[in-house]
């Protein structure tokens, strides 16, 4: 029986990132949904079950951390990886919550991201 591809949710307010991430992940064989805001993301989360969520930290209508906590609480099976453009010690983010989740800073290379995703889904 053919194994269903893992479904990944990409949440980022920048279209270029949503697009490139989606294509990169699809080419790796993942099923990808993308959202530009927390509201869109929540709507998708209610419709589908995601193996993984890639969350931008700064969203127009909230923090990726809130989504991460929501997922941990209601969908603990969904792996969460937070991608942030800022320093982890940026005052708006340094509320101690980021350290509770896996995160990558956006200076990382595409290979790094794919590797981390692969690692997260395998474990």
């Amino acid at each position: 029986m053919e194994r269903q591809p893992a479904r990944i949710l990409v949440v980022d307010d920048e279209a270029a990132i949503r697009l490139t991430m989606s294509i990169m992940l699809q080419r790796r064989g993942y099923a990808v949904s993308s959202a530009a805001s927390s509201a869109e993301a929540l709507a998708l989360i209610h419709q589908h079950r995601f193996e993984m969520a890639l969350l931008d930290l700064k969203l127009p209508d909230g923090s990726g951390l809130d989504l991460a906590e929501y997922l941990r609480l209601h969908h603990p099976a969904t792996a969460v990886l937070i991608l942030t453009g800022s320093s982890p010690l940026d005052s708006t983010l340094d509320d101690g919550r980021l350290g509770q989740f896996h995160y990558l800073i956006k200076t990382c290379s595409p290979q790094d991201v794919l590797e981390r995703i692969n690692l997260a889904l395998c474990s």
């Binding site: 320093s87 010690l89 956006k106 290379s109 595409p110 290979q111």
Partner: protein
């Protein structure tokens, strides 16, 4: 004898025409009534005592002034040896002088020869100074000597008094001169006033009380600063518009009172209590019978007054000493001014010196604080800027690198491996690297401190760097102190610091040289020294060495040393540089190894 010339016609005429009659025998009972009366009138009208003495020294004529002067009746004198009128001790000498004169008679006016010391004796035995003129008369009876005798005791007395006054004045002036040296050398105003007051009291023995008041500009009163009398309380005041003191102070002229009435006249009209209060204010129990108030004038400005009072005694008060007292007062005023200006000058000098010290200290503190703050502020500003720049750049960079990643997959085979693609990937990666480093600025990471072995860190760093240096003629010397204590720190950040320093050192030696790294430690700190034998750092670059984004390297970011300094600061340490252009540079990193407190 009548042929003899004479100064005095009458005198010469009389004996000549006496017709051989003896004057001794006739006295004034002359047989020539007219001539006799002339002669008598002449003798009696003379202001001085006149005696005529014969060659034997016997008195033949004496006038009434002679009687009065010597206290003898004429009858007692006539026929008596003239030596009876000479003090006993000088009688023999007088007789000799008389013989000598008789042998050589001549006119001798008063004030010549021994006159100044001639003394005469009265009947009562008292001695008095005289001046005597002598003239000779030749008569039939022989030589007669006329002597005119003047009592000069009054003149002598006046002379002596004058002499005394001159001596007195001279003494005053000498004393003043002496005092002036004391006063002008004295810097303490109270001491000056005491000296002056004591001296003034000496000058005026009849004064029973002395006081010096100085003007208090702020209170517009005269304040007692020195006194000879305990009833006068130092610090008590006298209004500048009352009494002799007020007058002297306002007018600048000496004020005097020779009686109680005169003194009271200077006071405003008063009744009962007012009167008592006034006396109290003046430090008096009763009005003085004599007062002298001298203004202390310096450059025509009255600084105060010197007041001398007499309570018992009457008559003019201290009139003789006034000129000297005036000088004394001026001298005192000058001394006060001098002392004051010296005091002011001293104080000013001290204040200026203190201000200069403070200024220097402040400048030095400011310089170092400013330098420190400037660097800290710059680092903080750069840190914040770096963080926000990182955020702004990271998103587009991330999207761009993802796109390139996809583009590479989409490229046809013949374009795979094109160098432009590689360059694009590398350069984007480099931008990411710069942003990573910029982000480090803003990462205190205190929570991540752990014990670090600096020797080990340096060894690893050098191993990496030496790869870089292999193609140059560079020798690396590592001299670790093997008992170096570990420090609390972030190993990754410290490694970055040492790597920066080592890379800089290698870059400074393009033609080769020696890289020396050593470690040492003291009671509280460890030291890491990275020295090169390179080109050194030019003076104009040194101040900007730790400035972010300042670089002299073509490919430098200008962040290496500024980040290093930031990291070292975050570790509670400091980084120093010692450079010798043309000979090399030493960087020293000092880090605390115990009792360490991080700056908050």
């Amino acid at each position: 004898m009548g042929k003899r010339p004479s100064h005095n016609g009458v005198m010469t005429a009389y004996p000549h025409g006496s017709g051989g009659q003896s004057l001794t025998s006739v006295g004034f009972e002359t047989t020539r009534p007219l001539a006799d009366s002339w002669f008598e009138a002449l003798l009696e009208s003379a202001p001085d005592a006149i005696l005529i003495v014969d060659a034997s020294g016997a008195i033949v004529v004496a006038n009434s002034q002679a009687e009065r002067l010597f206290g003898y009746d004429r009858s007692e004198l006539i026929g008596e040896a003239v030596e009876v009128l000479v003090p006993e001790a000088q009688r023999r000498l007088h007789a000799e002088h008389r013989d000598h004169y008789n042998n050589n008679p001549h006119v001798r006016p008063m004030g010549h020869g021994m006159d100044a010391e001639l003394m005469a004796r009265r009947k009562d035995g008292s001695i008095f100074p005289v001046e005597i003129s002598l003239s000779a008369l030749w008569t039939a009876e022989g030589l007669l000597v006329t002597s005119v005798i003047r009592d000069v005791s009054e003149r002598k007395r006046i002379e002596e008094q004058l002499e005394r006054q001159v001596q007195h004045r001279t003494a005053h002036l000498n004393a003043l001169l002496g005092l002036s040296t004391t006063l002008l050398a004295e810097r303490d105003i109270d001491a000056i006033l005491q000296h002056a007051l004591q001296h003034a009291m000496l000058l005026v023995p009849e004064a029973q009380q002395g006081a010096i008041y100085l003007y208090d500009r702020a209170e517009h009163t005269l304040v007692l600063r020195a006194s000879t009398h305990p009833s006068l309380v130092l610090g008590s005041t006298v209004a500048v518009n009352i009494g002799l003191c007020g007058r002297a102070f306002r007018s600048g002229h000496i004020q005097a009172a020779s009686s109680v009435t005169e003194y009271a006249a200077a006071l405003p009209p008063m009744q009962g209590d007012e009167y008592t209060q006034m006396l109290e204010a003046l430090g008096l129990n009763q009005l003085p019978s004599g007062a002298l108030v001298i203004p202390l004038l310096a450059h025509n400005e009255a600084l105060g007054v010197l007041r001398l009072l007499r309570h018992t005694g009457e008559g003019p008060f201290a009139s003789e000493a006034r000129p000297t007292l005036g000088l004394l007062a001026n001298l005192t005023a000058t001394a006060i001014t001098e002392a004051h200006s010296h005091y002011t000058a001293d104080r000013l000098t001290t204040q200026v010196a203190r201000l200069e010290d403070q200024q220097r200290e402040l400048t030095a503190r400011l310089d170092s604080a400013e330098a420190g703050m400037l660097q800290a502020a710059r680092l903080a500003a750069v840190g914040q800027l770096a963080a926000s720049v990182a955020h702004e750049i990271n998103n587009p960079l991330y999207a761009a690198r993802n796109s390139l990643f996809l583009l590479e997959q989409d490229l046809p085979d013949d374009l795979q491996g094109t160098p432009y693609l590689t360059i694009l990937q590398q350069e984007l990666a480099r931008i990411a690297g710069i942003i990573e480093r910029m982000r480090d600025f803003y990462r205190p990471d205190r929570g991540e401190f752990a014990p670090c072995d600096l020797n080990q860190l340096l060894e690893h760093t050098l191993a990496v760097a030496v790869l870089n240096a292999r193609h140059k003629a560079i020798s690396v010397q590592f001299a670790p102190n093997t008992t170096l204590p570990s420090i609390q720190g972030n190993a990754d950040q410290l490694r970055q610091v040492f790597l920066n320093l080592v890379i800089n050192a290698l870059d400074a030696m393009p033609d080769g040289g020696t890289l020396s790294v050593r470690t040492a430690f003291g009671p509280t700190v460890v030291l890491v020294e990275v020295a090169d034998t390179g080109i050194g750092i030019p003076d104009d670059i040194r101040p900007r060495l730790f400035e972010p984004f300042y670089t002299t390297k073509t490919n430098g970011t200008g962040l290496g040393l500024s980040i290093s300094a930031h990291i070292v600061t975050q570790h509670g340490g400091q980084i120093e540089v010692e450079t010798n252009p043309g000979k090399g540079t030493i960087f020293r990193v000092v880090l605390p190894h115990e009792a360490r407190e991080l700056p908050s």
